[in-house]
């Protein structure tokens, strides 16, 4: 009834998992920290929008400022001392961590003895977790490429000139939601799942559930066209392709509606060039395809949507 806490402790106390335990605290903390600043700015923005006279005289930061105060500080010593302090604290932290916890060293590499589960380094566990839902060419190659390209595209597709150089939520709702869903909900959560939940055979074990090496997973996953009883190969291919196409159209339409929700986002939308709109939508739809495929697998036990002789999706 109380579960196997020893198992949980075994997973948590693996030295290489310590960074993920740290991540569990650091990422929520800094998310909160950033949003606290954002709301502070949002309150000021609301205040200034309501009072145009104040907007003309205010120094437009939520931090205290009085006339006569220096606007600029000398880097030496006011910034240097912070950097020095940060370096000292970080060094102490690293030293203490290194003295108290040893880096892992398993037995010598042995190609004949497969580790079960054999996991990638923790920062790639998101990609490994994706392997459950997609074939390796998508999870291991296309998706990482898309993540890199997508991240680099952000400054060029974000046509919103507001919120440049200060925390705000109100002025950038859409982009902040898009980023946080990608980084927190997809990337970080997948890492946590890959670390704490995936056991032998990459099977799902809830925290405190004992890792059973003899557990068998009788997969009853089927391809989408089999559910609809399509047996002809070419027909099935056409059907799968049209479902994928339909996903793009529906998701694209939903994304479009989302961009049209508020007056402000409509205004931003109008500033975008056609190329920006197409790039933004393509990237967001492709990002959405991960939760979509996850839902298809977990809720309907669908293995592939599109089956071709060359690749499956």
């Amino acid at each position: 009834m109380w579960g196997d806490w020893h198992q949980l402790w075994q997973i948590v106390s693996v030295p290489d998992n310590v960074p993920i335990v740290a991540l569990l605290f650091l990422v929520p903390f800094y998310t909160w920290y950033g949003f606290r600043e954002a709301f502070k700015h949002d309150r000021l923005i609301a205040q200034l929008e309501a009072d145009p006279a104040m907007a003309k005289t205010h120094h437009r930061k939520p931090y205290p400022f009085k006339t006569g105060w220096e606007r600029e500080l000398h880097v030496w010593p006011y910034l240097m001392r912070i950097e020095f302090l940060a370096a000292v604290i970080l060094t102490v932290l690293l030293m203490v961590w290194s003295i108290t916890l040893n880096a892992p060293l398993e037995e010598p590499a042995n190609p004949n003895l497969t580790m079960n589960p054999s996991k990638a380094p923790w920062y790639f566990l998101g990609l490994q977790e994706m392997l459950v839902y997609f074939d390796p060419w998508i999870a291991g190659v296309v998706m990482p490429t898309l993540i890199i390209v997508g991240l680099m595209a952000i400054p060029y597709v974000d046509a919103n000139p507001l919120g440049n150089g200060y925390y705000t939520y109100k002025q950038r709702k859409f982009s902040i939601w898009a980023f946080l869903i990608g980084f927190l909900a997809l990337w970080c959560v997948m890492i946590v799942i890959g670390t704490f939940i995936r056991g032998p055979g990459w099977m799902w074990f809830w925290p405190t559930q004992t890792w059973d090496h003899n557990r068998l997973d009788f997969a009853v996953n089927r391809n989408l066209h089999e559910i609809f009883g399509i047996e002809n190969r070419w027909l099935a291919m056409g059907f799968g392709a049209s479902v994928v196409g339909l996903f793009f159209i529906v998701a694209g339409y939903l994304m479009h509606r989302l961009c049209m929700v508020t007056e402000f986002s409509r205004k931003i939308y109008q500033r975008m060039t056609l190329l920006q709109i197409i790039t933004l939508h393509t990237l967001l739809i492709l990002m959405l395809s991960l939760p979509a495929k996850m839902a298809a697998r977990l809720l309907f036990r669908i293995k592939y949507v599109l089956v071709t002789p060359w690749f499956n999706i």
Binding site: A38, H74, V75, L94, F124, P155, Y166
Partner: protein
């Protein structure tokens, strides 16, 4: 002839006495002066910043005038990455989170510990694992060295991610910093690749299977992998595809170890250093740290300007 000899010898004795006496006289005269001089120089050492040695290194007077404070940043090769002055709010931790600086500091720590580890490590099968054991059990502070390298690497990845999150949440990737964001994304990828290539080096089960899992994905690269879409049609086999290029073979073995070692210790650090140089330089050239900027109101949004924009919007150091 004998006379001459005697005379000569006599002269020499005379010379010695003269020299002795002169030196004695000199010393007697010098004694108080030497003491005084020595005391004077010792006193001068109490203010080392006035010595020639110190001035030749630092060149700037150490006092609290604005000029000296500015110069101490500008005349130091390590400090001159910074501007002389910054906005009073830019030092707020709640704005910067300090993650970019910490990433760079961790990179330095990893370079130092990494170089020290290289003294004890042979990237060859059979020897590599023994070198780790040697580090653990025989090298003074060897275990600590390896621990610091590994935990530092993990910390650096977390710091880089949080740095990216901060830059996103403050909208700092917006004009004129678009390109520097891209450089940052590349640096993040390089950071993870650095860590990944280092994972194999202990040559233990953990690294071996992690790298096996990781590189197996390369098999499935479209067009370039022998199990990827259209790979076989293009003549890809396990012995000529992109995975073979990564591993220097069809399995994770001695060649893979050597390649990981060279990527980890030489190639990627070099590439990353170049990108870091660009990254830091662009921070300055794009107008310094992005904020905290004064908030902009929706009513103040301007029409998008068409046409080319100036390359450097604000000269560095001015705001």
């Amino acid at each position: 002839m004998p006379d001459e000899k005697e005379n000569g010898a006599g002269k020499r004795t005379g010379l010695l006495t003269t020299v002795k006496e002169t030196v004695k006289q000199d010393l007697a005269g010098l004694k108080p002066a030497l003491l005084e001089k020595g005391k004077e120089e010792l006193d001068a050492l109490k203010e080392p910043e006035k010595t020639q040695l110190f001035r030749s290194i630092f060149r700037v007077k150490r006092d609290e005038t604005p000029r000296s404070r500015a110069l101490s940043v500008l005349t130091n090769v390590f400090f001159h990455l910074h501007p002389a002055k910054i906005n009073r709010d830019a030092v707020r931790y709640s704005y910067t989170w300090g993650m970019g600086g910490m990433s760079f500091y961790l990179f330095l720590v990893l370079t130092i510990t990494g170089v020290l580890l290289m003294f004890y490590y042979h990237p060859t099968k059979g020897q590599a694992y023994r070198d780790i054991l040697y580090l653990h059990h025989d090298v003074p502070f060897g275990q600590l060295l390896r621990n610091m390298h590994r935990w530092g690497a993990h910390l650096m990845i977390i710091a880089v991610w949080l740095h990216m999150m901060r830059v996103f949440l403050t909208g700092s990737y917006k004009r004129p910093r678009e390109f520097n964001w891209c450089v940052g994304v590349i640096l993040m990828v390089l950071t993870m690749l650095l860590s990944f290539t280092g994972y194999l080096l202990p040559d233990d089960q953990l690294g071996f299977w992690a790298v096996t899992v990781g590189t197996n994905m390369a098999r499935a690269t479209p067009l370039l992998g022998h199990e990827g879409p259209f790979g076989p049609q293009l003549g890809m086999t396990a012995f000529n595809d992109v995975r073979f290029a990564l591993l220097g073979g069809s399995i994770v073995d001695a060649n893979a170890l050597l390649r990981a070692y060279i990527w980890h210790c030489i190639a990627i650090p070099l590439i990353a250093s170049v990108f870091m140089g660009v990254h830091f330089w662009r921070v300055r050239k794009d107008g310094g740290i992005s904020g905290p900027a004064p908030v902009m109101l929706e009513s103040e949004m301007k029409e998008e300007k068409k046409g080319p924009r100036p390359v450097i919007l604000r000269p560095s150091g001015t705001r």
